[in-house]
Amino acid sequence: MPKPKQPEQTSSGISRRDFFKSSTVGAVSTALVSGVHGEGSSVEVLGPGEVGIKLNVNGKTRRLRVEPRVTLLDALRSELDVTGAKKVCDRSTCGACTVLLDGKPVYACSVLAVEAQDKQIVTVEGLGTPEKMHPVQKAFVENDAQQCGFCTPGFVVACAAFLEKHPNPDIEDLKKGLGGNLCRCGTYDGIKKAVKQVAAEGGINA
């Protein structure tokens, strides 16, 4: 479950994200000023250089500058240091990057940061805290529903969204409704037990 925030340190004292950030500075500084209108058009065309955007992440408005090509996942992790959502396949397949966008589960790797403006973004950090866990987080702990833990943040968010729609899921609902997340350790059994426990104990709002 989410621990108090710790920076990802390497032995050199520089986190991987800091390294990636500093290595892209050259490209960023040469980017063109953005926000021109298309020729004779009333539609604003942004980029390809950085544009200023606002994201509402876990109830807080965050301002940042990103190129239009930056995904929501990269913006969360590399720009805002909200690192709960994980980058694994980066191809809309594994579910490790799952966040809620206006309450719906989405792959943050396949949403552009610039298109996530004006929407409520909730990551695993926004569901609960170590002191006050979300029912899904608590049930994951109690049912040993993680092993290496890398898929866990995405799975927790996906399970919370699933239970919102299926308060009393049967096994078929579970198989289909959690089909968008993969766990290579094979903790599916614990995850199914955790979801069933949340349902049995009154659901995600209990």
């Binding site: 058009s41 009333s42 539609v43 989405v106 790797c109 396949s110 949403v111 298109e115 968008g180």
Partner: protein, 325 residues
């Protein structure tokens, strides 16, 4: 991913203004962003059409026709009482996209316009998967490739989940471009490319697919049946959709469309003809399955798909008739 300009118009007219020959349309994004990360698509401009309200909503016309806006999400398809009542085969097909994360943002038009999953295509060898004058697919790992329509250079399979069900119901699509609008039968939208210069569907640069219209499906018995390798997110190994019209207890007309077996959604006139004039029974359904794969030809590693396609057709027919599969 290459860097690109970005626009998010609020009207179709606005979208047409900013779309040019070097632009791509962004809707759900689950396929497009993957393609861009692989460098398979590298546009100068990305036009996000998701803010265009004209492209949203499901409407049932006075004539009983059903119009599905291009931006209707798979989740909206799954939760539509109108579609559940009038064309449950389309809902069954959407349920086959087994990822809530894709269902919540993936759109109907995006399902139709997603690019093939062929691993040679996805790794940069083009739709015809050619390397040094040889077909990587014909001589390589073709276990998921085409068993029908595979005489030419293209051996990938059409990846759409919804197309078979929509084509079985004679759906048409509306397309707008700078020079006007047109309506085409969905079946004619798809094509088998003869070279990498052609695409697998006919949407020109600067055009937008705006809506899908199903003529009144009243009275038709419909179903989709998928055969899958795993229950979680994956494309089916093969699928069949049917729309059957009855005259008394006999089939007056049947349309059978297979998915994931050919470079296009495969309309099997043979399977339809096998059912015409018959009662739907286990025997006639099986005969339709046999007819559907009569001209199928296995590649080196996908012979198993012929049997799967045969069974998918049989079970789709039985399901449409409300019989046990």
């Amino acid at each position: 991913m290459n860097s690109f300009e970005y626009a998010s118009p609020r009207t179709i007219a606005g979208a047409l203004e900013v779309l040019d020959n070097d632009s791509v349309i962004l809707a759900g994004g689950t396929d497009l962003l993957s393609l861009m990360k692989e460098g398979l698509v590298a546009p100068k401009r990305v036009v996000n059409i998701k803010e265009i309200d004209e492209l949203k909503g499901i409407n049932v016309g006075e004539d009983g026709s059903v119009t599905i806006g291009a931006l209707v999400t798979l989740e909206e398809v799954l939760e539509s009482p109108d579609l559940a009542e009038l064309c449950p085969s389309v809902v069954e097909a959407a349920a086959g996209v087994r990822s809530p994360q894709i269902q919540s943002v993936g759109t109907v038009a995006g399902d139709l316009c997603q690019r093939p999953r062929c691993w040679y295509y996805r790794n940069g060898f083009g739709l015809t998967a050619m390397k040094d004058g040889k077909s990587l697919a014909r001589d390589g790992d073709n276990r998921y490739h085409a068993i029908l329509g595979n005489d030419g250079a293209a051996l990938f399979v059409n990846p759409s989940s919804l197309a078979p069900a929509l084509i079985a119901l004679d759906a048409k699509i509306s397309i707008v471009g700078k020079s006007g609008s047109r309506e085409v039968a969905l079946a004619d939208f798809f094509q088998t490319p003869s070279s990498d210069q052609e695409k697998e569907y006919k949407l020109e640069a600067g055009e937008i697919l705006t809506a899908i219209t199903i003529p009144s499906p009243a009275g038709k018995k419909v179903a989709t049946y998928e055969i899958r390798e795993k229950q979680a997110l994956d494309w089916p190994l093969t699928a069949a959709a049917v729309a059957i019209e009855m005259n008394g207890d006999q089939v007056s007309a049947a349309k059978v469309v297979l998915g994931h077996v050919a470079p296009v959604p495969w309309v099997s006139a043979e399977a339809g003809a096998a059912l015409a004039g018959k009662q739907v029974t286990a025997e006639s359904a099986a005969a339709a399955g046999d007819a559907a794969v009569k001209s199928a030809k296995a590649l080196s590693k996908n012979g198993f798909k012929i049997q799967l396609a045969r069974v998918a057709v049989k079970r789709a027919v039985l399901r449409a008739a409300g019989m046990e599969v």
